[in-house]
């Protein structure tokens, strides 16, 4: 008789039948019924309706029945909290049972019932069980604290269970220690900074002792906990390592990997010249190799971790290349990982073996794997220079197979090889060109086009080849389009006479017919470059390219160090820091490798650089995204794929016109007639500038800048600095804002110049200020009435009030502005001279001045030197008055004039100043006194500005 019978009852009246059986008088029938209920539960059927009937069976001497009821309770208590209370008494009674296993079972089950009302009753039994004389009960209770914490964290803290748990770390029984550590680790995950696992040498010693005696699972918890400790010095580090190394021989692979983590981390602190360091390195290899003969899932996790380990310490596995050789029936996820590690371990010593293997893999069945193998050959060529030639010939052999995807991958990697070793293997280009037609993947097409463009001068029919691609230009992917554009421009610069038409064709395709902004922008850039200064164009487009670095796909060193601290965890499988993806762990602490101590070595351990072979430059991964130069220089391996909706551009200029002028210098004498034929005017710049809608004229923006300075009037003697650019066009999608502040007739104004450097019309301007120190705010809307056409500048004067919201800024005179137009909202900040706020009625009565001067404590006085000022005291006084700095009194002592001056700010703050001017001495001394001393600095700046301008 088997349990499968429980699966067969699916009749409608099932529940009623079970109900009757559960309430049967016969013990046996009852038990059978509970079994049926459990069976239904395991397959996901809802049997919660039977709750009261099942709970009634709990009061029994039969241990099996009791356990079955407990199983049921754990599953359904949540949905029937009121009924669950019925079970509480039995639990509490069982917690007092003379048999430790019953006590443990009761406290364990109670913890699994996730009902608030029950947890309240749990506290007392749990407290007793945590101090139970029997270790089995204590160890069960330790886990129960974690359960309770999961249900009600506050309760656990209030009841002091955390402290009890911490005490259990020093328990005499290793199993109790292990479970306490496990429970604390789990609780700590939701309290990242709680310092729950406060490790000190004593607790570490306890843990290391328990490590030897507890179960395999306990060992994992303890090792993971140890890994969080930072030893005080290299000796402690070594002694911990010595006690952890035996774990490497454990049959449980999780124990092994956790031990590897501890060792990898603590090794960092050992001096490299220490004998023990070498011994440890040797001890690490065999267990890692053994992990690879385990089941494929274990292998996968091991390989992901080994990938990190070989990046950090390649010396550990450098002789173990062969264990990474791929077997044909490995699962694909294992194959791909092995391949990756093979490349990392490839060196001059083993490259022959590696290449032979890779060639073997390239004829496998699995397409993904074959592709990666072909790529790997290219990576070997780039990594091990001595092997480059062999790699290239292997790749050529593979191209001869004519297997489509193999050829394409080969071409992609050969492009990288060309970049690494320029002018060495170009003889193979002919072979590559033969396969042009079979390329149907964008990456391969782009690579081939790059090769044709780059070596255009060596390929006789480069123009024909590129032209053939151009036919289907619009059907190509962006990557190919960009590459084609660049390649043709290169070709044109190299062979201008024959490719005139081609380049015009591609430029017009890119700029006029494409709605991809990247393509259009690049088209325009080339176009302008070619038309204004072909020589410069040559320098830019055909510039020497930086060599690509040898190591690829390296993990960034700081991330690598963090991941080493997380060996064996999910983070190590995903190669991402835990903070990047682990839910539930709120604010994970970043772990760091400990710094080496002792033996005078600096914290920046030299082996980091050596082992990972990072040069000063950050390792450039082959697809160098984000490298603007590289991008322009035509590395379109990973183009942005976003397609921004395009503002219709009304380019009216013919292509001929734009190109016309520029050709002269490029083509020398012959071109004059050519240029004429094209109908272009030699005065390109003018022609462009006159067109209604064009690109910004090159000189235009600059000119604008200079013009602006002159345009500012010196109203009422108030000094206002020339306009400066506050918002460069680059940061504001083509809108450039420059401006200055001025006080005119008692009104504060900001004079703005808005320039449209984009190619589309801008409208709907508006302005807003952030809260600032003096409550400056626009007194009216920003008056830009007509739409701002491209390349047009509008001058606006915006009156400001001082009644806006106030917030102290740092620095005091900082003003944050937001400007909006039809395109976007832009933010910038600028500083206003504080003299802007000096009001016209700022002249103080002499008596009041004297009294106030005395009244302000002397610690509020600040002194400044104003150098190189050649004004007489009267002239200075006049000049200052223009900016509302009023001279209250003047005193002359021998050759020294002393001006006593008063200033009132818009917010009513008075500033008193004493300016000492010595005849013949260009240095003035300024003493400022104010109840708000922080303004003194800015007052001084205003003095200096006013006096010197």
């Amino acid at each position: 008789m088997t349990d499968s019978k429980y699966f067969t009852t699916t009749k409608k009246g099932e529940i009623f039948e079970l109900k009757a059986e559960l309430n049967s008088d016969k013990k046996e029938k009852k038990k059978e019924a509970v079994k049926k209920v459990i069976a239904s539960m395991t397959v996901g059927k809802d049997v919660s309706a039977l709750f009261p009937d099942v709970v009634n069976c709990m009061q029994t001497d039969n241990l099996e029945l009791k356990k079955l009821v407990y199983l049921y309770l754990m599953n359904y208590a949540k949905s029937q909290p009121d009924m669950a209370i019925m079970a509480v008494n039995t639990f509490v009674k069982d917690c007092e049972d003379p048999n430790p296993l019953i006590r443990a079972l009761a406290v364990r089950t109670m913890g699994c019932i996730r009902v608030d009302k029950i947890t309240e009753y749990l506290c007392e039994p749990l407290r007793k069980c945590l101090k139970d004389e029997d270790p089995y009960v204590r160890k069960t209770a330790a886990v129960c604290v974690a359960k309770l914490h999961d249900i009600n964290a506050q309760l656990v803290e209030d009841q002091g269970f955390l402290d009890t748990l911490k005490d259990l770390i020093s328990d005499s029984n290793p199993m109790v220690v292990a479970n306490a550590v496990a429970a604390l680790s789990e609780i700590a995950e939701s309290h990242p900074n709680s310092n729950l696992l406060d490790l000190n040498p004593q607790t570490i010693n306890k843990l290391l002792t328990a490590l030897n005696e507890c179960t395999e699972w306990g060992q994992i918890f303890i090792l993971d906990c140890l890994a969080n400790y930072t030893p005080r010095d290299d000796r402690e580090s070594q002694s911990i390592c010595e006690r952890v190394t035996p774990r490497l021989s454990h049959a449980n692979s999780a124990v092994v990997l956790s031990a590897v983590k501890v060792l990898m981390k603590f090794m960092e602190m050992l001096p490299k010249d220490l004998d023990y360091y070498g011994t440890l390195l040797k001890k690490l290899a065999p267990p890692l190799v053994t992990l690879l003969s385990a089941e494929p899932e274990l292998q996968y996790v091991a390989l992901r971790n080994i990938n990190l380990i070989v990046q950090k310490r390649p010396e550990i596995l450098k002789h173990e290349m062969k264990v990474f050789f791929v077997k044909y029936n490995d699962p694909i996820y294992v194959k791909l990982e092995k391949l990756d590690i093979m490349i990392r371990l490839a060196s001059q010593a083993n490259i022959a073996q590696v290449l032979a293997e890779l060639k073997e893999y390239a004829t496998e069945v699995d397409v993904d794997f074959v592709r990666k193998a072909v790529r790997a050959i290219g990576r070997c060529a780039i990594k091990v220079e001595q092997s480059a030639e062999r790699c290239v010939s292997t790749l050529l052999d593979l191209i001869q197979t004519k297997v489509n995807y193999v050829v394409q991958e080969a071409i992609v990697v050969i492009k990288d090889i060309f970049r690494k070793y320029p002018n060495k293997y170009e003889s193979v280009i002919a072979t590559l060109c033969e396969n042009l037609d079979s390329l149907d993947e964008p990456e391969a097409r782009a690579a081939m086009i790059w090769i044709v463009g780059e070596y255009a001068e060596r390929i006789d029919n480069a123009d024909e080849l590129l032209e053939s691609f151009l036919e289907g230009f619009h059907d190509e992917s962006t990557q190919v389009q960009l590459q084609l554009l660049t390649a043709i421009v290169k070709l044109f610069l190299k062979k201008p006479t024959e490719t005139q038409e081609l380049v015009q064709q591609v430029l017009s395709l890119a700029t006029q017919d494409s709605d991809n902004p990247d393509l259009r922008d690049r088209g325009y850039i080339y176009w302008r470059l070619l038309s204004t200064d072909p020589v410069a164009a040559k320098e830019v487009v055909l510039a020497e390219k930086p060599l690509i670095s040898e190591e690829t796909d390296l993990i960034e060193p700081t991330l690598l160090d963090e991941l080493i601290c997380h060996i064996g965890t999910l983070a190590s499988v995903y190669h991402k820091p835990p903070s990047a993806f682990v839910e539930g762990s709120r604010g994970v602490q970043h772990k760091r490798l400990p710094a080496r101590t002792g033996s005078g070595e600096s914290a920046e351990s030299p082996d980091v650089g050596q082992s990972v072979s990072v040069s000063e430059a950050p390792p450039a991964v082959i697809p160098s995204q984000g490298d603007l130069l590289g991008d322009l220089l035509n590395l379109d391996l990973a183009p942005p794929t976003t397609n921004v909706p395009v503002v219709p551009s009304s380019m009216q200029m013919g292509a001929m016109d734009l190109l016309g002028g520029g050709l002269d210098s490029l083509m020398g004498d012959d071109s004059e007639t050519l240029g004429g034929d094209l109908g272009g005017s030699p005065a390109m710049g003018v022609a462009v500038g006159g067109a209604p809608v064009t690109m910004p004229a090159v000189g235009g923006g600059l000119g604008d800048l200079f013009d602006l300075g002159g345009g500012v009037g010196m109203t009422s003697g108030f000094y206002s600095p020339p306009k400066t650019v506050w918002l460069p066009a680059m940061k504001a999608k083509g809108l450039e804002i420059s401006g200055t502040f001025v006080r005119r007739g008692g009104v504060i104004n900001v004079d703005l110049s808005l320039t449209n450097k984009a190619m589309s019309v801008m409208t709907d301007f508006a302005i807003q200020f952030n809260k600032n120190s003096f409550g400056l705010s626009p007194a009216g809307p920003l008056q830009v009435l007509t739409p701002l056409s491209p390349n047009q500048t509008v001058e606006v004067s915006l009156p400001l009030g001082t009644t806006g919201p106030v917030m102290k800024m740092e620095p005091l005179n900082n003003l944050q502005v937001a400007v909006k137009n039809n395109i976007d909202v832009f933010y910038f900040s600028c500083h206003y001279p504080i003299s802007l706020l000096f009001v016209e009625d700022g002249k103080m009565d002499r008596q009041v001045f004297l009294a106030t001067w005395k009244d302000i404590p002397s610690e509020n006085e600040a002194q400044f030197q104003i150098k190189d000022c050649h004004l007489s005291s009267d002239a200075a006084s006049n000049k200052l008055q223009g900016s509302n700095i009023f001279t209250v009194a003047k005193r002359t002592v021998e050759v020294q004039d002393m001006l006593y001056q008063s200033i009132k700010l818009t917010n009513g703050i008075w500033v008193l100043a004493e300016l000492r001017i010595q005849t013949g001495n260009p240095s003035y001394t300024l003493s400022v006194k104010c109840r708000a001393p922080e303004v003194a600095q800015f007052v001084y700046q205003s003095y200096e500005l006013i006096l010197k301008n």
Binding site: A254, L257, L570
Partner: protein, 418 residues
């Protein structure tokens, strides 16, 4: 820690679920099904699958996916090791780890899972402790149970869980005291076309079957322990003794257990017991190919190689095979494209040969890939690494046990490239 476990059969039915914390809807398995579909072959399903709120860590054993759900950062190996333990426990309890066996014993399964984890923390994973808690089903017992109404559940409580030797219960009694050890070695190797060894290593285990009364303390020593490159031990083995004297000293668990596993990867020590001469050709025209394979003994240390089986995964375009074997039988499955040649014993006098033609799908291009050969074999009374047990001593008990050591060498992942 481990949150939930779903058992899913080959057809994609979830036939068992167990939650150790709150209940997680089985809809979480949809992410697994998605990954499974993407992977194609069940062996290729990635072991760790990320979903928006959980991680699914799975293993595939005996046509069952064991899918565990975790929510926080838990070492994946910890979970995988645990799942292996669950699969082994089913095997141990029911004699097979199959959907039918699990369904037949669903209540025991449920009780077992409940004992193995508490709140996701491993509780009792040792077979002997579990067997004390929950008795494995036997035909006799289930008959007796139905008659007398007693249960599978042990009325005695597991004393082992409290002891410092958790793997052994007290009060073990046998009338015949015996201790048998099997040294089993598997050769993992890759040979290239010409028969040269590309890579070879030996994975060895020492499995024990110890039925001894009381608390025996055993010491097992080898003739040549330095042969072993890496060893992993059952927790009962005293590591210090191994470190210092290279002997295995332990109080054994009761019954069957794996005492140690080891690894020999010094290439020159790995003898290759057979050689394979093969020639598999596909012709450019005529949609056909030829196959010619000969297998012969190589370094066998004077022993006979038995149970030799050659397995070849043919390219997809191979429709049928028309071959003659001088020894043994061959089958070709046109659906899975697997050619199996069961040779049997290898003798020096007559080398077995398999020869004939392959017919390909007409019109299809000739296959690019070369099929690899997988070799299975067995050699009795030989540990190919040369490892030999020296002696076994028993302390702590007075009786004299029967002792025995058996050696066997098998092929592990033994592949010949073509």
């Amino acid at each position: 820690m481990i949150h939930s476990l779903f058992l899913i059969n080959y057809a994609g039915d979830i036939f068992l679920e167990k939650h150790w914390k709150s209940v997680i809807s089985r809809s979480v398995c949809d992410y697994f099904f998605e990954a499974q579909e993407k992977a194609g072959e069940p062996d290729n399903v990635p072991p760790v699958i990320r979903t928006p709120h959980h991680y699914l860590i799975n293993i595939f054993r005996e046509k069952i996916f064991f899918v565990s759900v975790i929510q926080t950062e838990v070492p994946p190996l910890f979970v995988i090791e645990f799942l292996h333990r669950v699969a082994e426990m089913f095997q141990d309890y029911f004699g097979e780890c199959s959907e039918a066996a699990i369904k037949d014993n669903v209540v025991i399964v449920y009780e077992l899972l409940e004992e193995m984890l508490d709140n996701g923390f491993p509780l009792a994973t040792e077979s002997n402790i579990l067997k004390e808690l929950i008795k494995p089903p036997t035909i006799l017992r289930s008959m007796v149970n139905t008659i007398t109404g007693s249960s599978n559940l042990g009325e005695t409580l597991p004393t082992g869980q409290l002891s410092s030797v958790p793997w052994r219960r007290v009060g073990v009694k046998y009338t015949n005291n015996e201790a048998y050890f099997d040294v089993v070695e598997e050769i993992d190797a890759i040979l290239d076309k010409s028969g040269t060894t590309v890579f070879a290593e030996i994975q060895g285990v020492v499995d024990a079957c110890v039925k001894l009364t009381g608390m025996p303390d055993l010491t097992l020593s080898f003739m040549n322990p330095r042969l072993l490159d890496d060893v992993s031990f059952h927790p009962c083995v005293r590591f210090k003794r191994w470190e210092s004297e290279k002997v295995l000293s332990f109080i054994p668990p009761d019954g069957n257990f794996r005492l140690m596993s080891y690894h020999v990867n010094a290439q020159n020590l790995v003898a290759i017991p057979v050689y394979v001469k093969q020639n598999i050709n596909f012709f450019d025209s005529g949609s056909s190919g030829r196959l010619d394979i000969t297998v012969g003994p190589k370094q066998t240390m004077g022993k006979t190689v038995e149970n030799v089986i050659v397995t070849i995964h043919m390219p997809k375009v191979v429709l049928s095979a028309n071959l003659t074997a001088t020894q043994g039988t061959y089958t070709y499955d046109p659906v899975t494209k697997i050619l199996v040649w069961d040779i049997g014993k290898l003798t020096q006098q007559k080398l077995p040969n398999l020869k004939g033609s392959l017919s390909l799908q007409s019109g299809a291009p000739k296959p690019e890939e070369n099929p690899s050969l997988n070799i299975d074999l067995k050699i009795q009374q030989l540990a190919i690494s040369g490892l030999k047990v020296n002696r076994l001593d028993m302390y702590g008990e007075k009786y004299k046990p029967f002792k025995g050591v058996k050696y066997v060498t098998k092929a592990g992942k033994f592949q010949v490239r073509t």
